[in-house]
């Protein structure tokens, strides 16, 4: 069995003729904690969605544990934390119900909820300190609490690899620290983590590898970029010169050119 969590070679994605990923090579090995960094619009969210098969590749190929996403079957090995909670229509759902849905990839169709399911859900709720809100509708929680529900949902599935799309975006400092502690616990148990981040903040000590995406290409891959002066300090207001350049520069000359 291939134990490489993700392996993308020359991954390309374009939407309506506009290239978003322009030839990405990325391999994620077990136990790594990879931070995908980059400015808004650099393609990092598209990259994680493509790794999971949520966005189809227009060129190149990608593998999840050695299998293309379309034919991958062991989805219980992956825990996905999307950017924000998608609360369906007007029907309320309790925190516990949403967290329990993280077990879905482990549950066969006709089996009833088992003691192991319940224990995993309770454990996940405690890990994000929402056990006391388990019976409340998720719609009644604050943004930071909803983010914790999403993390708990992934934890409940007890996957090998976590994929998190900006888990710290728009979340208070307390939740960021909680997330960092939770991730540190996962890392000591040998779990793999791929997360998209804008700034690392309290997550920094546990990141083993930083991959910087710029204009759909890997601009840096290796040790996480250390704070340089003012730019990486918590609370620092980011300016986005890259995004502006990309918007202002000539787009046509860039498309699909390998570097």
């Amino acid at each position: 069995m291939n134990e490489t969590a993700f392996a993308m070679t020359d991954g390309r994605v374009s939407f309506d003729g506009k290239s978003v990923l322009r030839g990405i090579d990325l391999t994620v090995c077990p136990g790594e904690v990879v931070a995908l960094l980059g400015a808004n619009g650099s393609g990092k969210s598209t990259l994680v969605r493509t790794l999971l098969g949520l966005t189809p590749l227009t060129g190149g190929k990608t593998l999840v544990y050695g299998t293309p996403p379309g034919r991958f079957r062991d989805w219980w090995r992956i825990g996905y934390v999307p950017q924000r909670l998608q609360v369906g229509g007007g029907v309320p759902a309790t925190v516990r119900e949403v967290v329990a849905s993280g077990r879905i990839a482990r549950q066969s169709r006709l089996r009833r909820t088992s003691a192991a399911d319940r224990a995993a859900v309770t454990g996940a709720l405690e890990a994000v300190r929402l056990a006391d809100r388990a019976g409340d509708p998720v719609q009644s929680l604050s943004g930071g609490q909803q983010q914790r529900v999403l993390i708990a949902r992934a934890l409940a599935g007890e996957p090998d690899t976590y994929v998190m799309d900006e888990p710290t975006a728009g979340v208070d400092a307390e939740t960021q620290q909680l997330l960092a502690d939770t991730l540190a616990g996962l890392v000591t148990r040998g779990k793999t983590v791929v997360l998209v981040a804008h700034e690392l903040g309290p997550l920094e000590p546990i990141i083993t590898r930083g991959v910087v995406i710029r204009e759909g290409r890997v601009a840096h891959d290796g040790r996480p970029p250390r704070p340089e002066g003012e730019c990486a300090r918590p609370g620092h207001e980011h300016q986005h010169p890259h995004a502006d350049e990309a918007a202002a520069g000539p787009l046509t000359g860039w498309q699909g050119e390998p570097r």
Binding site: W75, G90, A105
Partner: protein, 291 residues
């Protein structure tokens, strides 16, 4: 009087039909409302009329042709939805109008068709159900409740967060079609009881009522099914008091009265929850869910 009525076969059949509709429509409706497809039932109901007319035209049981045509309609609606184009809205509207106009036209030229027959399908005619109808309705109801029981967990994930469903390896396309087809079957079940024009009401109103009082998905569905049964059986009983009371309309008006009541009770209940009062903004009911 009710006791005497229970002896009558006609009333027994009507009661069974009302019970089954009251159970099935809100169960499916909970998923549909969660998925923001509250009007799906309406759309399928319109299309089903063409199916009914085709039954008269070809001399087959209208319930069977309605099943086939409404399944086709539901699949078409789902395919348009999945493509996610903005023009999907208009495409759906075209399908609805085509369904009604086609039904009325075919019904007019069909040998056994008449305005009275047309009305009985548009507005329901629970008093005219035959034992064959009941068998078909019962089989459909078992199918619908079976789908909810077997696929409920997956459908919850799908309707709650389609992306998550995909990233969990669920067969998203299959489940989407399944919920659409199940909705189509529900429409046909409810057709004889409340009529095609009011079918959607029984799928949506009990759910809207229930969510005024509940905090979770499971409890919302359970309570909605209870409200659905109360409304459909209650409306049927109301119609037995006077031949002037149309059962379909009575059922829907009863369900709406329950909603208004729950709205008041729900406000009271929520005010009691002091802990949440500042942060919580319970989902507001949108107009299209009631329409």
């Amino acid at each position: 009087m009710i006791f005497e009525l229970l002896q009558e076969q006609l009333f027994q059949l009507a009661l069974i039909a009302a019970l089954l509709v009251g159970l099935c429509a809100p169960a499916v409706g909970t998923f549909i409302v969660q998925r923001r497809l509250a009007l799906l039932g309406d759309g399928v109901g319109h299309v089903a009329l063409t199916g009914v007319a085709l039954g008269f035209l070809t001399g087959t049981a209208p319930v069977l042709t309605a099943v086939l045509v409404s399944i086709a309609g539901a699949v078409a609606i789902e395919l348009v939805r999945a493509r996610g184009r903005t023009s999907g809205d208009v495409a759906l509207a075209l399908l609805f109008y085509g369904g009604i106009a086609g039904g009325v036209m075919l019904m007019a030229v069909a040998p056994g068709g008449s305005n009275a027959k047309l009305n009985s399908y548009l507005f329901g005619a629970i008093a005219s159900v035959t034992p064959l109808d009941i068998w078909i309705v019962a089989a459909l109801a078992v199918t619908v409740l079976g789908v909810v029981a077997i696929f409920g967990r997956e459908l919850f994930v799908l309707c709650q967060d389609e992306e998550m469903a995909r990233a969990s390896g669920l067969p998203v396309r299959f489940l989407s079609l399944l919920i659409a087809v199940t909705a189509a079957l529900t429409v046909v079940i409810a057709m004889r009881v409340v009529g095609l024009l009011l079918v959607s009401a029984l799928m949506v109103i009990p759910v809207a009522t229930s969510q005024q009082l509940t905090r979770g998905f499971r409890t919302t569905m359970g309570l909605a099914m209870l409200f659905g049964v109360l409304a459909s059986v209650g409306g049927l009983l109301a119609s037995t008091y006077s031949p002037k009371v149309p059962p379909g309309a009575a059922i829907v008006l009863l369900a709406l009265a329950g909603f208004v009541l729950a709205l008041g009770v729900g406000k009271f209940v929520r005010r009691g929850r002091t802990q949440e009062s500042t942060l919580s903004e319970r989902p507001k009911l949108r107009v299209e869910e009631v329409a």
